[in-house]
Symmetry: C2
Subunit: 227 residues, 2 copies
């Protein structure tokens, strides 16, 4: 468990910045979990019991219909939190969370989280910012899904991945997609085939190159103008 506190301090999570006493408190609240790729952390409709800080790896949040249609709502990376709905009054998870690769998570029990929040107003303030940021991100996604074509969605997706990198490789921006074509399609609200076709078209037009999970953006300017 000591490791959890260590990681809370080192990591760029909302828990960073707590006082030593608070961390001692936190120590009792955190539970480490190591999960393999493809494991379900919690499931839509399941009774809600807490949140999970992603310490390493990646987690996708999604909803699925009875017919199997799936929409990926969000991909969480290191330092982000799954199950924020633990802060709500309602008591069931509204979506499913699943690891996309081997991941380490810190579990925060809801009751203890609530207690911690009521003790520490600075932590509340941080959570408010995290939630408000998440709303903004969600609004942006609603906008993209509601108004953009498949090509525009894909271009936007590739550029959002590129935004993380500040080291433009010699000729372009190198990306490694940590997900399948299927996942990409379900993030963008298009079919897998369309996703693949759009990528192929981008390659034909020399906007991108590479293959499989390793892609290179060769022409950012043109990608921005896709139409």
């Amino acid at each position: 468990m000591k490791g959890c506190v260590q990681c809370a301090v080192r990591m760029n999570t909302i828990l960073a910045g707590l006082t030593p006493e608070e961390l001692a408190e936190v120590e009792e609240l955190l539970v480490h979990q190591q999960l393999k790729k493809g494991e379900v952390i919690f499931c839509e409709g399941e009774k809600m019991h807490g949140s999970y800080i992603v310490k390493s790896g990646a987690v996708k949040l999604y909803k699925r219909s009875r017919e199997g249609e799936r929409q990926i709502l969000r991909v969480l990376k290191e330092g982000e939190i799954a199950g924020l709905c633990a802060l709500r009054a309602k008591s069931n998870y509204g979506h499913t969370a699943e690891t996309m690769e081997k991941s380490i998570l810190c579990y925060l029990n809801k009751n203890k989280l609530d207690k911690l929040l009521s003790l520490n107003e600075d932590l509340s303030s941080k959570f408010l910012k995290v939630l408000a940021d998440e709303i903004d991100r969600a609004y942006e996604k609603i906008y993209l899904l509601g108004t953009k074509s498949a090509k525009e969605k894909m271009a936007n997706f590739l550029m959002s991945l590129a935004a993380g990198k500040d080291e433009p490789v010699e000729d372009g921006i190198e990306l490694r997609l940590a997900m399948s074509r299927d996942d990409i399609a379900d993030m963008l609200g298009i079919s897998t085939e369309t996703a693949i076709r759009v990528l192929s078209e981008f390659k034909d037009k020399d906007l991108i190159s590479g293959q499989g999970k390793y892609l290179i953006i060769d022409d950012v300017d043109e990608l921005e103008k896709v139409d």
Copy 2:
């Protein structure tokens, strides 16, 4: 200004439940505004300065692209809050807010709101719940936009309006849409013509009746099963 405090108490807002002293505090923070239909409260990209509680009327939040495509993110009714992004670190509104009818708003300056939040942990807790609820709502919308057909979106929209009413009129549920076909289309991420055509089809199939802003859901069960 006294009226603001009165309304804060009476209204079902997050400000309800504050102690008398806190309300006295709030009194200085609130500013009333009466706006006509179609007035812009704040604009995407504009420097952020505060939030607005909707006291009466309705407010739509939307984003718009350079080409004029518009996506309505959310419609706020009495008691809800526009400009929640005031809680974030970033300093610009991420979307535009505009009244959909004559509305009364209470303005909450950001700095004072922050102060109030730091003074009152219960208020922080309420805001956390409001924000978490909003995230859930946004996720649901992402799911609908990403996976559903025009008909399904419309059916879902009509039923969500019906959900507010508990008095099923003799033969069906009476709805009065407080918005144009254009607005509906931009909420669902479809074209105006498609929105109208879907409504016409529903009428042909006797799922709904009525015209203009007054519609009646005649067959909820069938509407739920729409394709």
